[in-house]
Structure formats: C-alpha cells, structure tokens
C-alpha cells in the first residue's frame, strides 16, 4: 500500500524538490501545534508553584507567535503544494496525451479509447487530490506523533513506552485494513460496473422505453440494477467497518495506556508529578493526527488503481521512428505501391493477407467488395493507422516505414467514413491539415467542396464555432467540411472511404461534385459503396477476404463476368427497388 506512495513519487520526479519543500514547510507548521501544548504542559506542571501575570504574558507571546508562524508556514506550504499538485497533474496529463500521439493508433481505437479517456480525464486528476490533500495528512500523521513522543520522553521517558506501543500495535491493523480496502474497492468497482451499465441503459434507451410504454417493465430492471449497486455498497461498508474501527479504537486506547502508565509510575512511587502532568497534557495532541492519517489512508487503494492505469498506459509501446529517416518524395504526383502487405488490427490476426497494389501517379483506383472484405483496412494501412506485420507500402519507391511519421502523414489526405469534424471554428477545421494556409486558400477549398456559400450564410461565417463532433451542421455539410479540409491539405495521395449514409438529393449532388474536385491531379485510392461513383475509375480492384480477387476497368470486369459483374448486377436490382404497398415476396432471398 505504501508502495503506491512510492510509485507516485517516481511520477513526480521533476517536481520532487518543490514537493519536498512544501511537505517540509507543512510538516514544520504541524510541529508548531506542539508549541502551545508544550507551553501548557510546562505551565500546568508548575501550577503548584503559583503562576504570575508574567507567565500569562509569556504564554500569550509564545502561543500567539506560534499561531502566526504556524499559519504563515502552512499558508505558504498549502499555497505552494496545492498549486504544484495541479501543475503536476497537468504535466502528467500532457505526458499521457503526448504518449497517446506517439502510440500506434490501434492502441486507442475501440476499447482503448475509453481507457485513454479515463487515464487522461479521471486518473490524471486523482493525482492532484492525493498530493494536495492526502499526502500532507500522512506527513502530519507521522511527524507530529513522533515529535510528541520525543517531548513526552523528555519529561518522563517511561511514559513514551505506552505511547509508542499503541502505534506499534495499531499500524499493522491499519495495514491489514487497507489491504482489505483494496479488495473491497476492486470488488465494488467490478460489481458496480455492470449494474451502472444496466442503470444507464435506461437513460440511453429512454425514447424506446417511452414510445413502447415500457416504463414499468424497464423500471423493474432499473431497480434490479440499483439493488446491485446498493448491495455492492453495503458489502463494502460491512467488510470495511470492523478492521477500520479496530484501528481507530486501538489508537484511541492509547489514552488509556498512557493513563495506566501514569498510574503505574505513581504506584511505583514516582516523585515527579509535574513531569507526569506534562506527559498527560502532551498526550492530548498525540493521537488525532494518526486517526486523521488512518482516515486518509483509506484513499490509497483508489490512488493505486489510478496509478496502475497511468503506468500501464504510459507503458504501451510507441511507434519507433527510423534511425536514418528517408527523405519523403516531393512533387505533386506519386506512385503508391503495396507489396505483399500483411496487416490487421490485432497482432497475429491479419485482415490483409499479402496484399499487392500499384496505384500510378494521378490515377484513380477503386476498391470494391462485400462488407468485411478488408477494403477500409487497405486505406488504414496506407494512412499508417495500423501496423504492417510484413511486406511494405511505398510512395515513389520509398517505404513509408523508412520515413519519419510526420513526413509519411504529410503525404496523405483523406476523407474517412467517420467524418471527424471536431469542435472549433469552421475556418480552423478546414485549415487543420496546414494552419499556415491563408484565408483565400481556405475559401478556395470550401468553394471546391461546395460548402462556401453555406458557410458565408451563417451569422459568423468562417468564424462559426461548431459543437462536439461538428454539431450545428447537417450530416451532408459536415461531410463537405471534411472534404474541404482534405482539399486544403496539400498532399499528393487522397484516400477516400465513401460514407454510406444517405443525403437529400441536392446535398448528395454537392457532395459528389466536391469529391470530384478533391480527386483531381492526385493519386486517389477510394473505397466505394455505390458502384456508380467509380464506374470510370482507372482501375477497379475487387477484394474478398483480404485478397484481390480480380482487377481491371469497369468494362473489362463486366466482360469477364466474374465476382464484380455479379456484384454489379445485384446492386442494379436493389437500386431499381421502390416501396410497394402490397408486399412482394418474390424479391426475398
């Protein structure tokens, strides 16, 4: 459990000196809590001698000064530590983001994107809370009792024995309790994870529930989920309470131990009653910091869980840059070649099995085939989005692996199925690939993408801020923004994964015009879902099961009468289909 603090310490290496300064100042401040207690101890021990106004003035001076000094130190320590803690969590979040950028994109697709998000948004913040709140309490919980025990020992060494004994007995109980917390915390997370999912499903499906008048039935399930959450909560409380209470009671029993110690000393004929009184007064400040420390230590398992996720994320492999990077080809026309490429989303599960493709400069190559054939995977491999297990992808003969990642990315522009227009201004969205382009170039791209008129009709024109995932525009408009972005990026290779969603006819026409403009004078590789789009492509490649089945021009392939010809015929039948009032089962099959 203490290991968690050590691991946190490693993550904080750059700020360690300032953290130490903060904790030392904070520790000193908490030591000053002892000064009024010491003063009280000395004065009460001397009560028999009769106290004077001078004693009162001295006490006022010492107590007042210690309070001011303590506040000053604590104020400086807290001001520094709290700000520093947030600074550290910011730095770690930047590191996480930076690592994510250098990691293979496959690391953070699918399930990985949720993990990356948790680490970045949640775990990164946990660290700040722990550094600024829990750590100082842990420091206090150690520093103040140690100093107090020394002070007690200075008055009456024998009294230090019960004080220390209490701690020696209580700490293992706390450790046992913490180990238990860790288990309880894990179990609770596991149990609540499922139940929370079921609870949230009610919200996500609320329109279906409402429309189907299912509220009653679904609320029963909802209630089951709630019971699941509650049971997990109850179980964790029930498992935690005994050990933690035992720790608290043991620490608190220290008062009894010290009192018994005084009793034994008195019975043994000890004469120094003043020292005993001093010991008793000091004991009043002995156990509180420890109880507080115990309470904060309960948060260690949460910290440990967050640290584990951060460490695991930062340990995911990043893509190596070549030692002697090749220079990327220059010029507006480039040949793209795939040579026996084996690639997929998970190691050892290839989607492409030795894929060969040659796309000459300024040609249009269309990839068609049934769903799941690996069409989009070809584009992802060329874009460097998935690792290549064997074979190579070359641009003008230069393998993309031999170039710097940034250089190979600069060669490619793309419009993918998930449009990926993000929040921010429209102008920035279009210029994303190259922010140095001027307003004219942005406008030219927008005109070519058939979206300029729509943009200037908006109240803020190119400065219009889009919401999350480009909300504020229709689907067709977002697609055309994405095309404008692809046009504005001066890259010789265009990858196009045609979106399958339908648009209204006018939007569809504008989109087609925009795509036609995107694909001039570049090397185009397109995955087409509507075959009409690519009838005139220079070459059509029919893909099935990660391999090329046949290739040629539209006419050649139709004449061959192979897989493509069959595909084409089926599509023609579907396109001629309309809604009919009387169902006809003859088309089923």
């Amino acid at each position: 459990m203490i290991a968690a603090v050590g691991r946190l310490w490693r993550l904080c290496a750059p700020e360690r000196a300032r953290l130490v300064r903060g904790y030392v100042l904070g520790g000193l401040a908490s030591l000053l809590r002892l000064v009024p207690a010491l003063t009280a101890a000395v004065l009460v021990a001397r009560l028999d001698d009769g106290l004077t106004g001078a004693d009162a003035a001295l006490a006022a001076g010492i107590c007042g000064l210690s309070l001011v000094l303590r506040y000053t130190l604590a104020r400086v320590a807290n001001g520094d530590l709290w700000v520093l803690a947030y600074h550290i969590s910011g730095r770690i979040r930047h590191e996480i983001l930076d690592h994510t950028r250098r990691a293979s994109p496959t690391t953070w697709t699918g399930r990985g994107s949720g993990e990356a998000l948790t680490v970045l948004a949640f775990d990164g913040g946990k660290i700040a809370g722990f550094l600024s709140w829990e750590m100082p309490t842990l420091v206090n919980g150690i520093v103040l009792p140690v100093a107090t025990v020394i002070a007690i020992a200075w008055f009456e060494p024998a009294l230090a024995v019960p004080a220390v004994a209490t701690v020696v007995i209580a700490l293992p109980v706390l450790r046992f309790g913490l180990r238990r917390v860790e288990q309880v915390y894990d179990d609770r997370r596991r149990l609540q994870g499922d139940a929370s999912e079921r609870m949230l499903e009610y919200v996500r499906g609320i329109d279906v529930i409402r429309a189907h008048e299912l509220a009653g039935a679904r609320q029963a399930r909802f209630r089951e989920a709630l019971n699941g959450i509650r049971d997990a909560d109850v179980a964790s409380v029930e498992r935690l309470t005994p050990a933690y209470s035992a720790f608290q009671a043991l620490v608190d029993a220290g008062y009894a131990a010290v009192l018994a110690g005084v009793g034994l000393l008195v019975a043994g004929g000890s004469s120094g009653s003043g020292d005993l009184i001093a010991g008793l007064i000091l004991t009043t400040t002995l156990f509180r910091p420890q109880l507080d420390m115990g309470a904060r230590a309960l948060h260690l398992p949460e910290l440990a869980a967050s640290l584990s996720r951060i460490e695991a994320w930062l340990a995911t492999p990043t893509i190596d840059e070549p030692d002697e990077p090749a220079r990327p080809p220059s010029g507006s026309g480039v040949d793209v070649g795939l040579h026996r490429v084996v690639a997929g989303y998970e190691p050892g599960v290839p989607v492409l099995h030795g894929f060969d493709l040659a796309a000459p400069a300024r040609s249009v190559t269309a990839i068609v085939g049934p769903s799941g054939a690996g069409k989009s995977t070809v584009l992802r491999a060329i874009a460097g989005l998935i690792p290549i297990e064997s074979g190579s992808i070359t641009v003008d003969g230069v393998p993309i692996d031999a170039m710097l990642r940034a250089d190979s990315a600069a060669l490619v522009t793309a419009v993918m199925q998930e449009v990926g227009v993000l929040q921010g201004s429209i102008g920035e969205a279009i210029a994303a690939g190259d922010p140095s382009v001027d307003g004219n170039a942005v406008e030219r791209a927008a005109r070519a993408a058939r979206i300029h008129d729509r943009i200037v009709a908006l109240p803020d024109g190119y400065q219009t801020e889009l919401g999350e995932d480009g909300s504020g525009l229709s689907g067709g408009e977002r697609q055309r923004i994405a095309i404008a972005r692809a046009i504005a990026k001066p890259a010789p290779i265009v990858l196009l994964d045609e979106a399958t969603s339908a648009l209204d006819p006018t939007s569809e026409r504008l989109l087609r015009e925009a795509l036609a403009n995107l694909t001039t004078e570049r090397t185009v590789i397109v995955v087409a879902h509507r075959l009409e789009t690519i009838r005139h492509a220079d070459r059509i490649v029919f893909v099935d099961d990660g391999r090329i089945v046949e290739s040629g021009s539209h006419e050649e392939l139709l004449a061959t009468g192979g897989a493509y010809a069959g595909f084409w015929a089926t599509r023609q039948r579907a396109a001629g289909w309309t809604l009919q009032q009387e169902p006809s089962t003859s088309t089923a099959g």
Binding site: C63, T284, D538
Partner: protein, 606 residues
C-alpha cells in the same frame, strides 16, 4: 454546465433529501443519536486526564485509582468506536436506500417527460446526474449529517458545561470555533465562480478528449501542426488554471480554518494563567477548561474537508433537483377514446427556438392503407413533423389528429399504442435478441418473433448467431451492424402491430448491401397500415401514394411522383439533382468547375 446557479444553493441537497428521505428519517435520527453518544465519549479521555492531573496537582494521586480511570477510558474508546461505526453504518445504509430511491424517482420523472426533452439534451448530462450527482449526495447523508450534527450538538452541550464552570475562561476556550467557521464561510460563500469554472473545465477536457480519441485517422493525418490535439492541450491547461485559481483563492481561508480549529490551548492558556494569577479562577477549573477546550475542537476538525465538499454537493443537488422539476408531458384531463383513421396535420406551427418557427402552417393528410412520403432538403423540418405526431413536443399552433382526435386529447399510452416508430440509428438493449424483439410486444410467441424477423429479412442473420434468438446483443454481447440493427428494429415495429408506422430515414445508415433487405422489410410492414416515411433516396419513395415536399418548414408541393416532376418545382429540382449526382464520377473534377455551381444553401439548412 452553464445552467448552474450563480451561487451554490446549499439548500438544494437538503430540499431533495427532505422530500425523499422520509423513510430514512428514523435511521438518520438513530445514526445522529449514536454519533452524539460517540462524540460525547470522545471527551472521556480528556475528563479522565483532568481528574488525573487534579489529583497529581493536589498530591492525592493514587496509582490504583489511575488504573481504574485507564480502564474506564479504554472501555469508553471501545464503545466510542463501536457506536461510531454503528452510526456510520446506519447512515450509509440509509444513504444507499435514499440514493436508490432518488435514482428511481429520476427514472420515473424521465418516463413522463415528452420525448423531445431528450433530443435537446445530451444524454451524457442525464447520465451524469443519475450517477455522479446522486453519488455526491451520498456524502451528505452518510457523513455530513451525522458527523456535523453530532459535532455541533456536542459542541453546544460541552460549551454550556464549560460556561457553567467558568464563563470567562470558557469563552477563551470556545471563541476559536466560531471564528474558524466564519473564516471558512469567507472562503466558501463565493466559491460558485470557481466551482463552475472547474466543472466546466473538467467537462470540456472530457468532451474534447473523448471526441478526438474517437477519430484516430483525423489525428494521424491532420494533426501535424497540433491543430487537432492542440485544443486538448488547451483544455488541460485550463483545467489546471481553474484548479490553481481556486487553490490560490482558498489557500488563505482554508489554511486559516484548519489552523484555528486545531489551535488547542492558544487562547485559553494565556487567559487562564492570567485569570489564575489574578485569583479569578482556580487551578482545577483551568485544567478542565484547557483539556475540554482541546477535546471539543476535535470533532469540529472533521468539518474541514466536509465544508469544502459541500459546495460541490450543493451543485449536484441543484442539478438533480432541476431534473426532478422537469415538466411532464401533459396528459388530457378527459382522454378521448382512440380512433382508427387518417393522420391529419392541420395548420401545424412549431418552433424549437421561438420565435423562428421550425415548421409553419403545415397541412396534409396521411390516409389509412397509403404511403405518405415526406421529402425535402435536410433541415427542412421533416423529422420535426414526424416527431410532433408522437408528441416529442406539442404544436404551438394548429393541431395533429388521428381519426379526428387531437393527439393531445389522447392518453399518452393510447397514443403510443397506435404508433410504431423506426428512426435512424435505433437503440437496442443489452439483452437477448428475443428480449429486444419483445420490446415491441411483451407477449409475442416464438412463432410470432420468427415470422416478424423473416418479414424484416433478419431471421437468417439471427439464426446464424451462436445462440440464435437467445444470443446476447448490445453492450457486453455481440455487435450487430447498422443495417442489421435497423432490420431488428423493423421487426420490433412489426410485432408492435400498430396502425400507424413512422419511418424516419430508416435506411439512411445502411450500406448498400443491407439497404435492399431493409427496403424489402419495410414493404412487409406497410400492408394495411398508415405509413409515413421520410427518405432521402427519392427512388425509394417515388411510388408513394402521396409525396409531401417540405422546404424551410413549409409544405411547398403535394402530389404523386409523375405530377411533381412535371410541375417543375422543388421536387423536380431534387429529382434532377439526384440524377446529376448519379452521373458524377471521381476524377471528374475538371468538369465540375466553378462555372457550374448550384446554390449550396438549398442543400443545407440547419
């Protein structure tokens, strides 16, 4: 989170709890009572120490008596923590119950809201209210109430005792706590600015990071100059800046509270010694006040962290409270019996954001047994019309009637019973295939399920799944493709057997492979029903009995395909655009120059 109140509404959490925690009242009282006992026992060591010191001072110390005292203290400590853990266990269990009730109450409220409420808000906010915000209230019940209530009750009781012993000395010992709480109030009373900024920054970071992480290709290809991930960097920096600003603001008062609430002896000692020197008090009183003064600060120290969290809790309370206050879909006072008959839109006007109407003065009829198609550019208001029929919202003017009965005069269950809705990107529950189908009709037999699925062209796909109809789908189960999900929804709508079917872009998400199958499925659904269909692909609806062309919120044309094409209006333009779109090919860029532009705005809308 821009709709948070300006100041933390500290009462919001309590208001909700007052409404919902009536069953928890008893346990909360018991818990607080036990906590008070426990807190009182916290003082036993201090009293025992006082007695011991008094004996030591007057020389009457007796070792045996001390041992007895020690025994009493040990027993008190044990009892103290037994009662304390008991108190907190009771309060936690009560809190868990109240949280479950609160969540159920939210669920019930949600079930009565108009469907339109959900489309205006991101479900993320509702989810957060249901999970995080309710969770935050746990602290209030489980910790804040028993701990603070016991600390305060006990502090007042002990204060009265001390005042009775020596009121001047007592004031010196007790005076610190009110000052400390005043300092805490100084720190918290205007914290809302910071809480809001911190919450907004955290939301923004989460939102931006989630958005970017969903799009690896965009990061890979367009982030060379940091244009894509740059905003996340900025969001991280803003989150840090917001927290730092709050830290700077709170460091002074927070430290002040902490220092004051642990400043045992600091005032009482000099004042006490001075009084003693003047002869205004005696030694035992001084020792008693010193020790008890220190002892009773101890429970208040727990307020340090709780006070800090209360403003967060109060925001959570306000959010949950606001959600429970949402206006339910108004039910008619005297519901009319539902009638089978045509769907009539009669001069319907409705504005999402007044005063700009989304649809205005829309009139058309959809006859029983006919297909009525709504077409028009995106943003024209087609989906709004379809949703007005199912009372996502109520019309501002005009009326919508089914068989002559205004939808607002139908009980919502009667209304929904008449409707089967198939929207794009349909929701499926994490359940078996059969469970999802029976959402349409709970008592459907297996044969009926199979029949609906055959008709919806999804039976073969289901049969090929590992467990057939018992295969678990959705979260944690098998993922179906968009087209498969849509066909499953159509099967669900068929089982529903409702006289009116509304299809909004039901084929929009599908790839061409499943599109044909979906359209076949829809054909099966039409028979003998009133079908209202919204479709972008004009070929799909060319044979509809009636095509209603909507543009900019108004009906511009109504007719059959051939007539509309001949009329040369909006529909004819769209039909023409579709044909041009079909004839355009990649690499044609040279031909689609600046000279042949069409007005993009007609294809846009908002």
């Amino acid at each position: 989170m821009s709709d948070l109140p300006d100041r933390p509404d500290f009462t919001a959490g309590l208001r909700i709890l007052a409404r919902l925690c009536r069953p928890a009242l008893r346990p909360m009282l018991v818990s607080t009572g036990l906590a008070i006992v426990s807190t009182a026992l916290e003082l036993v060591p201090f009293v025992a120490f006082f007695l011991a010191i008094r004996d030591l001072l007057d020389g009457s110390a007796d070792g045996g008596r001390f041992l007895v005292l020690a025994l009493v203290v040990a027993v008190a400590s044990t009892v103290r923590f037994v009662t304390w853990s008991w108190a907190l266990k009771i309060s936690h269990l009560a809190a868990f119950d109240v949280m479950a009730d609160l969540r159920l109450e939210i669920a019930r409220t949600l079930a009565q809201l108009p469907l339109g409420w959900f489309s205006r808000r991101r479900s993320g906010k509702v989810q957060r209210a249901l999970t995080d915000d309710v969770q935050r209230l746990e602290v209030l019940l489980a910790h804040a109430i028993p701990e603070l209530a016991s600390a305060l009750v006990f502090w007042v009781a002990a204060a009265i005792w001390l005042l009775a012993v020596d009121w001047v000395l007592a004031l010196a010992a007790l005076g610190l706590a009110p000052v400390a709480f005043f300092v805490q109030w100084l720190g918290m009373h205007d914290s809302s600015v910071h809480v809001r900024r911190i919450t907004a920054a955290a939301d923004d970071l989460h939102g931006r990071a989630a958005e970017v992480l969903r799009h690896p290709p965009v990061v890979r290809l367009f982030d060379r100059f940091g244009t894509i991930t740059g905003p996340i960097e900025a969001a991280i920096d803003e989150a840090v800046a917001a927290d730092e600003a709050w830290s700077r603001r709170y460091a002074g008062t927070g430290t002040g509270f902490r220092v004051l609430i642990t400043a045992d002896f600091v005032i009482a000692l000099p004042v006490g010694v001075w009084l003693l020197a003047r002869g205004s008090t005696d030694a035992p009183s001084l020792v008693l006040v010193l020790l008890l003064g220190a002892g009773i600060l101890q429970p208040l120290e727990r307020a340090y962290r709780l006070g800090f969290r209360l403003s967060w809790i109060s925001y959570a309370g306000a959010t949950v409270d606001a959600m429970l206050q949402e206006t339910a879909l108004p039910e008619p006072r005297e519901p009319q019996p539902p009638q089978i008959g045509p769907v009539e839109f009669d001069r319907v006007t409705f504005a999402h954001e007044p005063p700009t109407p989304t649809v205005s003065d829309v009139s058309f009829r959809a006859e029983v047994g006919e297909v009525t198609a709504l077409v028009g550019p995106s943003g024209a208001g087609k989906s709004t019309l379809a949703r007005l029929l199912s009372r996502f919202w109520d019309v501002d003017d005009g009326s919508i009637r089914i068989g002559g009965v205004d939808v607002r005069d139908l009980h919502s269950s009667d209304l929904f019973a008449q409707l089967a809705l198939v929207f794009q990107d349909p929701f499926l529950f994490s359940d078996t295939v059969a469970g999802n189908l029976r959402v349409g009709r709970a008592d459907a037999t297996d044969e009926e399920l199979t029949a609906a699925c055959r008709a919806a062209r999804i039976h073969d796909t289901i049969a090929a799944l590992p467990n057939g109809y018992d295969t678990h789908i959705g979260a944690g189960g098998i993922d179906l493709s968009g087209g498969e999900r849509q066909r499953l929804t159509i099967a669900r709508a068929m089982l529903r057997n409702a006289p009116i079917v509304v299809l909004d872009e039901a084929t929009a998400m599908a790839d061409p492979d499943s599109e044909a199958a979906i359209q076949e499925a829809i054909s099966e659904l039409v028979a003998g029903r009133t079908l209202i269909v919204i479709a972008h692909r004009l070929r799909t609806v060319a044979s509809a009995d009636r095509i209603v062309v909507v543009d900019d919120g108004r009906v511009v044309e109504i007719g059959r395909h051939g007539d509309l094409v001949d009329a040369g209006g909006t529909y004819a333009t769209m039909w023409n655009d579709m044909r041009i779109a079909e004839s355009l090919h990649l690499g044609d860029g040279g031909h689609v120059g600046e000279g042949r532009r069409v007005d993009e705005r007609t294809g846009g809308g908002s």
